[in-house]
């Protein structure tokens, strides 16, 4: 059931069992688990059913540190939240992403991938994906075999892209909750304070502002913050009446360790040794729910041996990797090499020569055949895009600024920072990829990373906001425990990627939903359901 908060009389006190703040993928997938259970759930969404200027103004903030788009453009304060502009990429975190990795200064998760496995399975159903979605053998048969790397130093994995026809954040959720009898969605309801008991051990109520700035109150037995990776931290920091540093911020971790997925659009390109190199596994294919396509990454053993974070290699994007323009580069080079008199003296020689050098076996035999007998056969140049894990560092953070929004709340400041370790890892990773690609006779890698890496060309953000209320069983090292409960507070939980202690290279939404389902199961037990 949808309700407009502006129609709730001032100073009303709403009683419910669970109060969820935010209606993005985390909050809604959590609430969905309570549909028809008899548990009363109130969802407080600051925005409306459609994007409107008032709500957008509440997302304004300041960007310092690395360049980042306007914060109003990359966050959606509307029913459906980030699900409205979600790209639809689905893959789970790898088992090693959960590990404590002291050699790269990374805390681990309080549990292993096995803990989340059943919830990932349930989340697949949520996205309308089949149970064998990540079965490499299955997709090898359908899409083509993945490349074979010697000693399995590079592994191939499947991603899915869920299309809008399958998952449209707004439409799907509207249909689901419109008829719900026990889940109420309050629109245009902005939480401005979280009030705990005198000992600050248990949350008693939320203060909610309407657009006319008058307020009402929501009391519940359990509270879940699901406002996004930036806003979760902001909201806790704003609640400074009972704890000066902000609620749940006893050890100063709220807002710290902001992580994004780091992208180098010009990471590298691959000159295949064999023009017949099968790209099918990585190009993927269209399916009823969207696309299934492959990526590469260095093996866990290599990541550990060389102290690296987890970067995936996409063979360009699924929409433009294999287009005619890219292939035509190879054809142009090929034509010029086949007739050296056509080569312009001032051209980038390497671009052409790299097409020829490839693998000795190939060039010395098949290459000659191809060049002489099939001069127009396209030699592919494959763009390699690196998308990877940012290591958590405390200087990368969100904090409160001086400016205030129309409701009197301090706006957020995003200070995104990467470290020299992140830069070193990118440099090492491209070299290792080049080594394994050459060793496996797949081709040669051309490094396009600038010397200063991210200092020269800032990473392209994905709007994946992670780590600002990170999970750790030790309160001195994290904000929430293994059940996503804020340390010291009995009944305040956080849903969403802000709890990620590490980010892996997978898009976060799938893991967000799996965690939300797990949290729902946990609270069902707490509530005796």
């Amino acid at each position: 059931m949808f309700l407009n908060a502006d129609e709730v009389p001032q100073n009303t006190v709403i009683e419910t069992d669970i109060c969820v703040v935010g209606s993005g993928p985390a909050g809604l997938s959590f609430a969905r688990e309570f549909e028809a259970t008899g548990v009363r759930v109130a969802i407080l969404e600051s925005g409306a059913l459609d994007i409107d200027d008032f709500a957008v103004s509440l997302t304004e903030g300041e960007v310092v540190g690395l360049p980042y788009p306007d914060l109003t453009a990359i966050r959606q304060r509307v029913f459906g939240g980030a699900g409205i502009h979600w790209g639809g990429n689905v893959r789970h975190l790898e088992a090693s992403d959960y590990d404590h990795r002291p050699e790269i200064g990374r805390e681990g998760w309080p549990f292993s991938q096995d803990t989340l496995r059943p919830y990932y399975k349930r989340a697949l159903e949520f996205f309308g994906l089949p149970s064998n979605s990540f079965d490499r053998a299955h997709w090898s048969k359908k899409n083509g075999k993945p490349w074979r790397f010697k000693d399995r130093n590079v592994v191939s994995q499947i991603f899915h892209t869920v299309g809008e026809d399958t998952y449209d954040g707004g439409k799907y959720w509207r249909q689901l909750f419109r008829s719900s009898r026990n889940i109420r969605v309050y629109l245009s309801a902005t939480v401005v304070d979280i009030v705990a008991d005198a000992d600050v051990r248990r949350i008693e109520k939320l203060e909610v502002a309407k657009r006319d700035r008058t307020r009402f109150t929501v009391r519940a037995t359990q509270f879940v913050l699901a406002t996004g990776g930036i806003e979760n931290a902001r909201l806790l920091l704003l609640c400074d009446k009972q704890q000066k540093a902000g609620l749940g911020n006893d050890n100063g971790h709220v807002g710290k360790y902001f992580q994004e997925h780091l992208t180098n659009p010009n990471f590298a390109f691959l000159i295949p040794s064999d023009p017949h190199l099968n790209l099918g596994f990585y190009k993927g294919q269209s399916l009823p729910w969207g696309d299934a396509w492959g990526v590469l990454r260095l093996s866990d053993e290599i990541l550990k041996k060389h102290a690296l974070s987890n970067i995936r290699f996409q063979l360009a994007t699924i929409t433009n990797t294999f287009n005619e323009n890219i292939e035509s580069d190879g054809m142009v080079s090929l034509g010029r090499l086949a007739d050296p008199s056509n080569m312009f003296p001032n051209e980038d020689i390497l671009k052409h020569v790299a097409n020829v050098i490839a693998d000795i076996d190939y060039v010395a035999s098949a290459g000659y055949e191809r060049l002489t007998k099939y001069p127009n056969y396209p030699m592919k140049k494959v763009d390699v895009v690196g998308i990877g894990e940012q290591l958590p560092n405390a200087s990368s953070q969100v904090r409160l600024g001086r400016e205030r929004d129309v409701l009197g709340q301090q706006r957020v400041v995003l200070d995104w920072q990467v470290t020299e370790t992140d830069n070193d890892i990118v440099r090492k990773t491209v070299k290792l990829l080049a080594q394994f690609v050459g060793q496996s006779k797949i081709g040669r890698i051309v490094d396009q990373i600038p010397p200063g890496v991210f200092a020269d060309v800032p990473p392209k953000p994905h709007f994946h906001h992670m780590g600002t209320t990170r999970m750790h069983d030790n309160p001195k090292k994290g904000v929430v425990d293994g059940n996503s409960r804020i340390h010291r507070l009995e009944n305040l939980f956080v849903a969403g990627s802000s709890v990620f202690p590490s980010s892996g290279n997978a898009n976060p939404t799938y893991t967000i939903v799996a965690l939300a389902i797990r949290l729902a199961d946990h609270l069902k037990k707490v509530l005796g359901r």
């Binding site: 050296p340 002489t372 051309v446 396009q448």
Partner: protein, 134 residues
């Protein structure tokens, strides 16, 4: 290489350079024994490309693959004298080159040349091509 005078070693180097890079050469450049000419002409003729890579290597500041010139390094690693004494089979030379390149990649002996990661053997071949034809 200034003052170039063809020698047996250089002729062999020329042949392996061209073999490895997938380019045979023009007999008029190298002259030499008939078997080398036969070996070279079995491959694609484009020595310009090898030289261009060699030039790119030379342009890298402080780039070094060890003592001596590229020809010396290849002479040692390929055992060119023994190769010729054993009959000078192009297939055997190709196999030796492949073994060296594989070993380079397996042990990470690779370097970016104008961005393109190449093995030390490949780089030596290109440098040798530059030395021989300069």
């Amino acid at each position: 290489m200034k003052g170039y005078r063809p020698s047996r070693r250089h002729l062999l180097l020329a042949s392996c350079s061209v073999l490895a890079i997938g380019m045979a050469t023009r007999a008029s450049i190298f002259g030499g024994p008939a078997r080398i000419v036969r070996a070279l002409t079995a491959f694609f003729p484009n020595p310009d490309s090898a030289r261009k890579i060699g030039e790119a290597v030379v342009a890298v500041p402080d780039f070094s693959l060890g003592s001596g010139d590229a020809g010396d390094r290849l002479d040692r690693s390929l055992g060119l004298v023994q190769w010729e004494d054993s009959g000078g089979s192009p297939d055997e030379l190709r196999a030796r080159l492949n073994d060296l390149v594989r070993a380079d990649y397996a042990s990470g002996r690779i370097h970016p040349v104008a961005g393109c990661y190449l093995s030390e053997t490949e780089i030596n071949l290109c440098l040798a091509a530059l030395e021989i034809t300069a």
